[in-house]
């Protein structure tokens, strides 16, 4: 056995040990929101402080705007399917926060929630003052930009947004544990990870 073979074997075993240590430590915390506090409003017009009001419960949170026909309805449906999977810890809460607060006022979110049959606990559709939402989106790394504008057949001017596509899992101490592509990640993977919290 040559020296280089021994060295390769050593590197290989070191990598295995490193991977083992990583996987044996449970989910890493990607970020910590416990010192943050954002004053939001839910679909019923009630004040909600994020993430403080969810502390003590795992939280599944997606980011949407209701004038988005494809990706955001996909994210919303995925959050509902994670709930339907019924593998989450007791008390888990499910939130969808708009990054288009100018148009997505509480009444709009309530109608949107009703269409998805999610206008009920444990679902929360959240909006807020535009500057507060902007600060929150920056904090959770959600980006958006106006991509196009057009006029509908009824004469209404409407704009569309390019945006980040995310679902986050936040633990009961307001720490970010998992970060997924909101529309693309298979629901069963999110549901399985949620069961680890």
């Amino acid at each position: 056995m040559t020296f280089s073979t021994l060295r390769s074997a050593g590197i290989f075993l070191s990598c295995l040990l490193f991977i083992f240590l990583l996987t044996s430590c449970g989910p890493d915390r990607l970020d910590d929101y416990s010192d943050e506090s954002f004053e939001l409003v839910n679909q019923d017009g009630e004040s909600v402080t994020f993430p403080d009001d969810f502390r003590g419960s795992p939280l599944v949170v997606g980011f949407i705007y209701t004038n988005c026909p494809d990706i955001c309805s996909f994210i919303t449906a995925n959050v509902r399917k994670i709930y339907n999977a019924d593998t989450y810890p007791e008390g888990t809460q499910f939130a969808l926060i708009t990054f288009d607060p100018e148009r997505d006022r509480p009444g709009v979110l309530k109608s949107y929630a009703a269409a998805f049959e999610m206008d009920r606990a444990p679902f929360h559709f959240l909006t807020g003052p535009p500057d507060e939402i902007e600060t929150l989106m920056n904090r959770v790394n959600i980006r958006k930009a106006v991509s196009s504008e057009q006029t509908t057949d009824s004469g209404e001017s409407i704009y569309f947004l390019s945006h980040s596509d995310k679902i986050l899992l936040i633990d009961s101490q307001s720490r970010l544990v998992f970060d997924y592509g909101g529309s693309m990640t298979p629901v069963d993977i999110v549901a399985e990870d949620l069961g680890k919290l």
Partner: protein, 154 residues
């Protein structure tokens, strides 16, 4: 040696995946040979609130010997319906663009699916919830027109 073994297994896995994909495509082609004219199948749409948005998805198949072009879409549950396409603009950023005309080549099919091609339904005239249906009509350059009932589901 280990690197070679790793590459070998990765290559084998990719070959297996590719052969599965080929088999799937062949199945679609076999199905394609069994139809005639232009057909729309597997249609469904997302829930949406009145006055807001939804999206419809389906498989459109052109069994004719001539290429065709989808030129217009209409839905009886929306003021405006248009073909749009979602795409990844840059890492993690999803955008959407209009597709005013869509080629549907002879003896082939085009799938409208989440995160890709879809019929955008704007200004819904009624709430669409799971279990509801509405009618979608697709018009082609050839003059053919196809109407389908679209169920709403998650």
């Amino acid at each position: 040696m280990k690197a070679f073994t790793g590459i070998f297994f990765t290559f084998t896995a990719l070959l297996l995946l590719a052969s599965c994909q080929q088999e799937s495509n062949n199945q679609a082609d076999d199905e394609l040979m069994q139809g005639e004219g232009i057909e729309v199948s597997d249609a469904w749409a997302r829930p949406g609130a009145e006055g807001r948005m939804s999206a419809a998805y389906f498989l459109v198949s052109n069994f004719n010997d001539e290429d065709d072009v989808l030129t217009n879409v209409e839905a009886d549950a929306a003021q405006t319906a248009e073909v749009h396409e979602s795409y990844e603009r840059e890492e993690g950023m999803m955008g959407m663009r209009a597709v005013p005309q869509l080629d549907v080549p002879a003896q082939s099919s085009v799938r409208f699916e989440q995160g890709g091609l879809h019929v955008m339904l704007m200004d819904l005239t009624r709430q669409l919830s799971e279990g509801d249906t509405f009618q979608l009509t697709l018009t082609f350059q050839s003059g053919d027109s196809v109407s389908v009932d679209v169920p709403v589901r998650l």
